[in-house]
Symmetry: C5
C-alpha cells in the first residue's frame, strides 16, 4: 500500500543523477504509443508502433497529442528527450512514479506531473497513477504508467469536434486533460463521501468494533488523496502567476477554473477529515456507553443477589442452636426479607438512573 | 446530507468545459424571473414570464435587479450569457451548486457566488442554498436554486424607499443583498449558540448517551457553516483591495463593514468549535465518573458480602467433626464476626473516599 | 452566557444598513454624559445633562474627554454623529455591542472598539463590556454600555495633574485609557491564574469529579478573553504602521508599549490554555488510576474468596457417600487448604504489583 | 509558580505610565553596582557604591560594562535614565520583570530584555530571571533581579584577555553576554532531556501513577521555557535585519550564530513536547493494558468458579427427593463434572488469548 | 538517545566564542584525510597523512574533494581554517555535531551542514551523523564524525567517469554528495514505511500491548528524522534564491531537484506521522473492544449463575418448615426454573447483541 507513496530508491543509489531507471511498480504490458493529430477541420488517430513513426505523423500547424503508456522502455524516453530537448532530470521525474505533483517551466516547453485517481469500487480503495505532461508549442505529450485511463471522453470530444477544443491550441488540450483528471477526483470524493455517510449511519445506530477499522481505512485513503492533491494548488497558482508564452491569455480563465476545482477538492478532503475525527469521537463514546450498560447490568445483578445469597447461606449453616430455623414463620420471613430487599434496591437504582 | 457539499460530477464527465448542466439537486418548480427597476423617484416590480420580456423592461438610467429562481432552464442561461457577455465557465459555475464561495472580476461585470444559510428550527439543521450574483454598471442579476429567500425585507425597503438604497447605484444593491445574507448567518449562529447552551447545561447536569450524538450533530453543522463562510473573508478582501470601477468609493466603507461581519461570524464559529471540544471532554469525563460510581458500588457489595458468604459456606459444610457448630454461642459469634467485618470494611471504604 | 458573544440580530433584519438600533442587552439606567476638559493649567469636570450642553463646554485649545454611558438613546448618537461627521456604519458599530475589536481610520477622526474586562470575584466569571472610542484633533469620545468603569484612576490623574497627561494631547489621553483597560486584562489574568493554580493543586492531590466542570469553566473564560483580545494585536499594529496625523510621533513609543502588553496577555492566555490541557490529561489519568485501584480491590476479593466459597459449597453437598466428611481431620484440612490458597494468592498479587 | 509569568499589576493601576514601580518579587538584598572597564591593554573591575561613583570611572575610549543587581532602588534608575537618555517606558520595562523578551532600537542606544534560565537540580525546576540590557556606543548596562548569574566565566575571560573580547567593542560584549545566557538554555535543555529519558524508561518498563504527575511537571517547565525563548527568535532576526549603527558589521556573523542557537533551542523544545505527548499516549495505553490484565483475571476466576459453585449449591439443597444424592457415584461424578468444566473453560480462554 | 539531539554544552561554557572544542560523542578512531582530485581526463585518489600533504596535492584546474573523518584534531581544523579563510564560528559549527542543518554564504566559499541518516536494520533505529561541507571555487571539503559513509557509490562514479561528474565543477560535486545523502533518506523512509505496514497489519489483526511501545519507537524515529530534514527545505530554497557565483546556472536545475526530493521526504514523514496517529486510535479502540468482550463474558456468567445460586441457596436453608422441600416434584421444579431462567437470560443477551 505504502508503495504508492514511495519507490524503491535502492536501485538508483549507485547511478549518476539523470540516469533513467523506472522506479515504479513494473508493468506487465509493453510501452504503447498513441497519437491524435487535429486542427479545426481534420482529426486523425494513430496507434503508432515506434516513436519515430509517431513523430513523423505530427503536423506543423495542427495540435498533436502523443500519449505514452508504460514507462519500461527507457531507450524510447531518451530518444524522445533528445528530440524535444527535455532535461535529463525531467525524464528522471517522469520515470520516478513516486513524484510529488509539480510544474516546471522550461524555455521551449512546460513540464507537469499529476496523480490520476480512480476509486475502485470492488476493492474500495483508491487507484493512484502518475501522469506526466509535456506541453510544447503545438503538442502535448502524456506519460502514463498503466493502460486504461480516464480520458476516453476527451478523445471522443476531439474526434467528434464537440465544444471548442478543435478550434483551440495545445494549451487548451492540456487544460482539458487536467480538467478531466480533477473531475475524477470529485467522483472519488463522492464515493468516499458515500462511504462516510454509510459509516456515520452505522456509528450512530449500531456501533460495532469493525467500524474502527473502516474509519481507519477511509482516513488512510483521504491521507493519500490529500498528499496527491495538496501540491496541485500551488502548482496551478504558479502557472497563473507566471504567464508563460505557451499558455494563451484566453486559456487563463480555464486555469483559474482548475484552481477553483482543486481548492474545492482540498476543502472537501479537509471537511471529510474533520468529519471522520468527529465520527471517531462518537464511536469511542458509544463504546464507552455500551461498556457502561454492561457494567450497570452486572452491578445490579450482583448488588441484588449477592447479599440475598449471603442471607440464604446464613440459614444454611448447621449450628445446633439457631432459633430462627425452628420458628414456623422463619422461612416465609426470610423470603419476605429477600423480596423487600430486592424491591428496595431496584427502587434505589431507578432513582440513580441506572435502570 | 453530504450532497450539500458536492454534486454528482458523473454527468458532467463526457462534456466539454463550459457546457451547461445543472449539477445541483433537481428542483420541482419552474424557473421564475422577477425584476425590480428603481431610481430615486420611481420603483417598478415585475414577475416576468420570459427573459426577453424582463430585459425589455430594464431602463437605462435606473438600477435593475433581475432575480432568477431555479436553474433547470439552461437555454435561458445561455441567452442571458450572450446578452450580458458572461463567460461560459461563469455560467457553468452558476449551475454547479457545489461551488466554493468566490468572486471573479471581469471587464464589464463582476461575478460572485455565496451560500445563503437559514437554520431550519423543525429539522434543527442548516438549509444551505447557493446564490450567484452578477453586478453590472446598472444591474444586479441574482440566481437562486429554490423559491423562497431572505430578501423580502430588502424588497420592501426598495419599494418604500427606506434608507438610502433608492439614491444609490447597483453596487449598493449588491452590498445590501450580501449584508442581508450575512445577517442571516448571525441568526443561524444564534440558533446554534442556543443549542450549544442547552447542550452545555445538560452535559453539566445529567449527561446521557444521546448527548454525544447531539454534540456530533452541532459539530457537523458548524463544519458546513465554516466551509461556506471561510472563503468569503478572502473574497471580500479581494474586492476591497482591487478597487473595481463598478464599485463606487463611497460603497467601500460598506464592504469593509461586510468584511468585519464575516470575520465576526468566522470568529464565532471557531469559538463554538472550541466550546464543543471542551464539552466533549466534560461529557467523556462525566461518563468516566459514572462508570467509576457504578464500579464503586459493585466493589463495595462484592467486598462486603463475598467474604461473609464464604464464612456462611464454611459452617454450611457437613463434616462430622466441626466443634464450633455445637457450641451454644457459635451462631451469634458468626453473626457477630459478620457484622464486625462489614462495619470494618465500610469504615475502610469511607477512609478511601469511595463511599 | 453566549450572549456576550453575539447579539440578537433578528431585530436588525428589516432595517437598512446604518439604521441605529441598540443590539446589546438593554440597560436599566439612562444614558449619562460626563465631560472633562483640561489643558496644561486648568481642568474642569462636568456631568452634562444634554449633548448640546456638553458640546458647548468643549474648549478650542484644550483636550475634551466626553464619556457616554448607556447606548439606548439612539437619537443622541445621531446628533453626535452629524456634529462630528461620524459615518452611519460607525454609529451602528458603536451600538452593536457584539462587535469584534477593531480600529478604523477616517479623515478627521479615528474609531476604535475594545472590550473592557473585569473579573467578578463573586460569580468567578469575566464581565465583558464593549467600549468604543472616537479620537479627534482635540477630543476623545468614549462610549460604554453600563455605568461603572475602570477609569477612575485616570480621572484622578487628570484632575491632580499627575504624570505628563495634562501637558499632552488627545492621542495620549486615548493611549492612557486603553493602557488602563489592558492593565485590567492583566488583573483578570492574575485572577484566572490563581484559579488555575488552585485547580492544579487539587487535581494533583485529590481529583474529584467536580474539577472537570471547574476546568471547563476556566477554559471557557479563557476562550472569551482570547476572542476579545486577539484582534487587538493587529489593530494596534495597524495604528503603528499607518502613522496617522492625529497621533503624535512622541506618542508612538506608548503605542508600541501597548502592543507589547497585548502580546504579553495573548502569550499568557495561550500558556494558560496549554496548562489547562495538561491538567485535563492529569485529571483523566488520575480518574483512570482510581478506577484501577477499585478494580484491583474487587479482583483480589473475588479471586481469593470465590474459589474458597466453591470449596465450602462442595462440602455442603448432601451426597450419601462423601468419605472426607467423616474423616476426623476433614474439617481442619479444608480450613488449611483455604488458608494456604489465600496466602498463595496474596503472594501472587504482591508479585504482580497489585497489592 | 505562575508568578514567574506575571506580576501583580494591581499596584501599577493608579499610576501614570512611565512611573517606576518594581513589579517583580521583592528581593532581599540591596541594589548592587559593579563596573568593568576595559580596552585592548587594560582592564579594571570596580564594585561601585553609588551610581555617580560608577559613572565617574567609565572611560571615553574603553568599553564599560555596568551591571546593576536588584531593582528596588527606583531613584537610582531614574538618575541612570536621565544620564543616558533612556525613555521612561524603557525604565518601566526594566522594572516589570514579567516582560516578554524584546528588543527596541532607540536613537543613541539599543534596549533588550531576555530571560536568564538556570535549571535548579535540587528542586528540579527552572529558575527564570529577567535580564535587561542597554547597549550604547561604548557601554553595556545590564540589569538583574537577584545576585548570582551565569556570567562569571565571561568576567574571567575579560580579566585574562582570553579570546578577542578585549580587542572588540561594546556590541561584542553584548553578544558575549547573550551567548552565555543561551548556552545556559542548552544546559537546562540537557537536564530536562535527562529527565525525559529517565521518565521514558520508567513509562516503558513499569508505569506507575506518579509518572503522570512527573510528565505534567516537565511539560510545564517546557511551557515556561518556550514562553521565554520563542520571542527571542524574532528579536534577534530584527537586529540582523535592521543593521543598527551600534552593531559593527563584523559582529553580524556572531548575531547570526546566536540566531542559530536560539532556533536550535526552540527546535529542541518542540521535539521534547512531541516526545512528552508520545509518552503520555504510551502511559495511558499501559494503564489501559494493566486494567485489562486485572479484568481478565477477574473474569477467568468468576467464569470458572461461579458455575461450579452453583452446581455445588444444587446438591446442597435439602429436598426429600433428590435421587442423585443417594447414588454411590454421585459425589465423584459431580467432582468430575467440575473438573471437566474447569478444564474446558481454561482451554476456551487459552484459545481466546486471555490466558 | 537524546544525545543525538544535543551536545554537552557544559564544556564550552567558560570559553570564548570561536574556540574550537569538539562537542559530539568522542570517536575512537583517528582523524583521517582522503583526497580525490579529478578533471575531465584524470582522476587521482590519495589517503593523505597530513593536511599539508593533502593541500599540496590539490591542482589549480581540477576539482578537489577533501574528506575529513573524525573531528578530534582541532589543531588540524584551525590550520585548515586559516588556509581557506574560514570564519572561526564556522569551524565551531563543524565541531558542534548537534548543529541544525543550515547553509551560510561567505565571500569566497559556501558552508553547509547536513545530517547523514542511515537506518540500522539490526537495532532498528536511525543512525544520524552530521556532515559539513565547504564549497570553494574548485574544491569541496567534507567533514564527517565517524568512518564509513554513504558516498562510496559516488567515489566509484568519479573514478570510472560515469555520468557527467568529471566534466563538471565543484558545485556539481557538492550537489552529487547531497543528492546521495537525500537518497539515503528515502531508503530510511522505506524501512520505516515497512515497519509501519507491519505494525498496521498487527494492530488490525491481533493488537497486543507491545505494539504501543513499537508505535512509540517509530514515532520517535520520525521525530528525529523530521528534526533533521525540516530545515533543509529552507536552506536549499535559500541557495536557489540567492544565486551564488560559486553555483553555475546549469547546476540550478539539479538544486531544484534536490529541493523536490527534500519536500517529498518531508511530505512522507508527515504522512507517516498521520498514519501513526491513526494507528494509535485503532489500537486504543481495539483495546477498548477487548475490554468490552471480557466484560461481556463476565456479565453473562454472573447474570446467569448468581440468581440461580441464590435459588439453590434458598433450598439449602435448614428451616424446619419449608413445604417445597417435601414435595416430590420440588427438586425437578427447581431444576426446571433454573433451566428456564438461564434460557430466558441467554435470549435476552442475544437480543441485546451481547452474545
Amino acid at each position: 500500500m505504502l508503495k504508492k507513496l514511495m519507490n524503491s530508491y535502492a536501485k538508483r543509489l549507485a547511478l549518476p543523477p539523470g540516469t533513467l531507471v523506472h522506479l515504479g511498480e513494473p508493468s506487465l504490458s509493453d510501452t504503447l504509443l498513441s497519437l491524435i493529430v487535429y486542427d479545426k477541420d481534420t482529426c486523425a488517430k494513430y496507434d503508432a508502433t515506434t516513436l519515430e513513426d509517431a513523430l513523423g505523423k505530427m503536423l506543423p500547424d495542427a495540435v498533436s497529442w502523443l500519449n505514452i503508456t508504460g514507462l519500461q522502455d527507457t531507450a524510447l524516453l531518451e530518444r524522445l528527450g533528445s528530440r524535444f530537448a527535455i532535461h535529463p532530470l525531467t525524464l528522471e521525474d517522469i520515470l520516478n512514479t513516486g513524484q510529488r505533483p509539480k510544474t516546471e517551466v522550461f524555455d521551449g516547453h512546460l513540464f507537469s506531473v499529476l496523480k490520476m485517481i480512480r476509486y475502485d469500487e470492488t476493492t474500495r480503495s483508491l487507484d493512484i497513477e502518475q501522469v506526466s505532461f509535456i506541453l510544447g508549442k503545438d503538442y502535448v505529450i502524456t506519460f502514463q504508467e498503466r493502460p486504461g485511463d480516464v480520458m476516453d471522453a476527451l478523445r471522443d470530444r476531439i474526434a467528434q469536434g464537440k465544444g471548442s477544443i478543435r478550434r483551440r491550441g495545445a494549451d487548451y488540450l492540456l487544460y482539458s486533460i487536467i480538467d478531466l483528471i480533477i473531475d475524477h477526483y470529485f467522483i472519488s470524493m463522492e464515493s468516499i463521501g458515500d462511504d462516510i455517510e454509510e459509516l456515520e449511519a452505522q456509528v450512530l445506530d449500531e456501533p460495532s468494533p469493525a467500524l474502527a477499522k473502516e474509519l481507519h481505512r477511509i482516513k488512510r485513503e483521504l491521507l493519500f488523496l490529500r498528499k496527491a492533491i495538496w501540491p496541485m494548488r500551488e502548482q496551478i497558482a504558479l502557472l497563473l502567476r507566471e504567464e508563460h508564452p505557451l499558455i494563451a491569455t484566453d486559456t487563463m480563465p480555464y486555469l483559474r477554473d482548475l484552481q477553483d476545482h482543486t481548492v474545492q477538492v482540498i476543502d472537501t478532503v479537509e471537511t471529510f477529515r474533520d468529519m471522520l475525527g468527529g465520527l471517531l469521537d462518537v464511536y469511542l463514546s458509544s463504546i464507552s456507553n455500551r461498556m457502561n450498560d454492561v457494567m450497570r447490568i452486572l452491578t445490579i445483578i450482583a448488588t441484588i443477589f449477592i447479599p440475598l445469597t449471603f442471607l440464604a447461606g446464613i440459614y444454611g449453616m448447621n449450628f445446633d442452636v439457631m432459633p430462627e430455623l425452628h420458628h414456623p414463620l422463619g422461612y416465609p420471613a426470610v423470603l419476605g426479607v429477600c423480596a423487600v430487599t430486592a424491591v428496595a434496591m431496584i427502587a434505589f437504582f431507578k432513582r440513580k438512573g441506572w435502570l
